[in-house]
């Protein structure tokens, strides 16, 4: 069944539609929250809170808008409020963790060995570099490259102008490259 039909049924109070939507977005929403807060336990709590909020506010959702953007906006607002309460320093624009702060859930399960495929090793390296970025870059890169959202949808989720989205995308990618060059000097990324 299509997304629009599920959302429409949810707006009418259909419990099955809610279950279908949670299932549809389970991994993507969890991944996005994990990208922001970096701690699995916190991401799990925020995941549940997000869907409770969806259930409580679905009547206020304007069906002409993108449900996905609305869902990720709710999740982001909860995650940012959470970080503001628990780790306000992580919301600073400056590097908040460094490469050593990569959480276990986002690292590859095993350290990359020399005989692993280059693609897998690069994924590990980029993942580590991504996790070292400040949250404002992590989230915009996650929304663009992982969630494959349009720029306008990202602007809606972030509640920021398009120019800010573009600027963060550019700085985010440049920062990842700097991190990679710092950590793996001499490695070609072509």
């Amino acid at each position: 069944m299509g997304l629009e039909a599920e959302v429409s049924r949810l707006r009418r109070g259909d419990l099955d539609a809610l279950a279908e939507l949670v299932t549809r977005y389970q991994h993507r929403l969890y991944r996005y929250l994990l990208r922001i807060v970096r701690q699995p336990a916190e991401a799990e709590d925020l995941f549940q809170q997000t869907w409770l909020r969806v259930a409580g506010q679905i009547r206020r959702f304007d069906p002409r808008r993108s449900f996905e953007a609305w869902l990720f906006t709710l999740a982001r607002n909860l995650a940012i409020d959470h970080l503001r309460r628990v780790r306000p320093e992580s919301l600073d624009d400056q590097d908040s963790g460094g490469l050593g702060a990569t959480p276990a859930a986002l690292r590859s399960s095993e350290p990359p060995a020399l005989d692993l495929a280059i693609a897998r090793e690069r994924a590990h390296q980029v993942s580590a570099a991504l996790e070292a970025l400040p949250v404002i870059y992590r989230e915009v890169l996650a929304l663009r490259f992982e969630e494959e959202m349009k720029l306008e949808e990202i602007a809606e989720v972030l509640d920021a102008p398009l120019s800010t989205v573009k600027s963060r995308l550019r700085r985010g990618l440049e920062s990842i490259r700097q991190e990679l060059e710092k950590r793996y000097p001499g490695q070609e990324w072509q």
Binding site: H27, A123, R177
Partner: protein
Amino acid sequence: MNMSEHDQIRELLALAAAGALDADEESRLAAHLRSCAACAAELNSFQEMGAVLRRLPTPQAPAALVARTISAAQSRLAEESTRRSERKLIVLAVVFSWVFVALSWPLAQFAARGWTSLVGLGFEQGWENFAVFTALCWTAGAVAAAALAKRRQQERGVA
């Protein structure tokens, strides 16, 4: 080569890899890349990073979390739905009380005094009667609201 143009184009490379250029920027970039190998290499580098970002493994939401979330969110949705129905019922009860007062007083007068009641509203018979009548109607509305509240309390107790 015009260095300022080169620097401006370099600013666009990361955005190009993110698919975030407008048509004008894209054509400027394409024209520049034809004569600048350094920028072409840098663009490749950003595109490779973008490709890796798209292919990063997706952390899986634990099945128990998903089940727990569905159950909690469904309860919330059902609760909201009940609350909305009850709000509608209470509004209906209030509207009914008002309409009942407005319509039944003339009817009661008609029953008591026949056609002569049509001459006036009958307040000269005593405003106290009207007040008592209104109070009775409102009491009926209040009883309906209290019954609803009680039922809700019982449902909460069962849940």
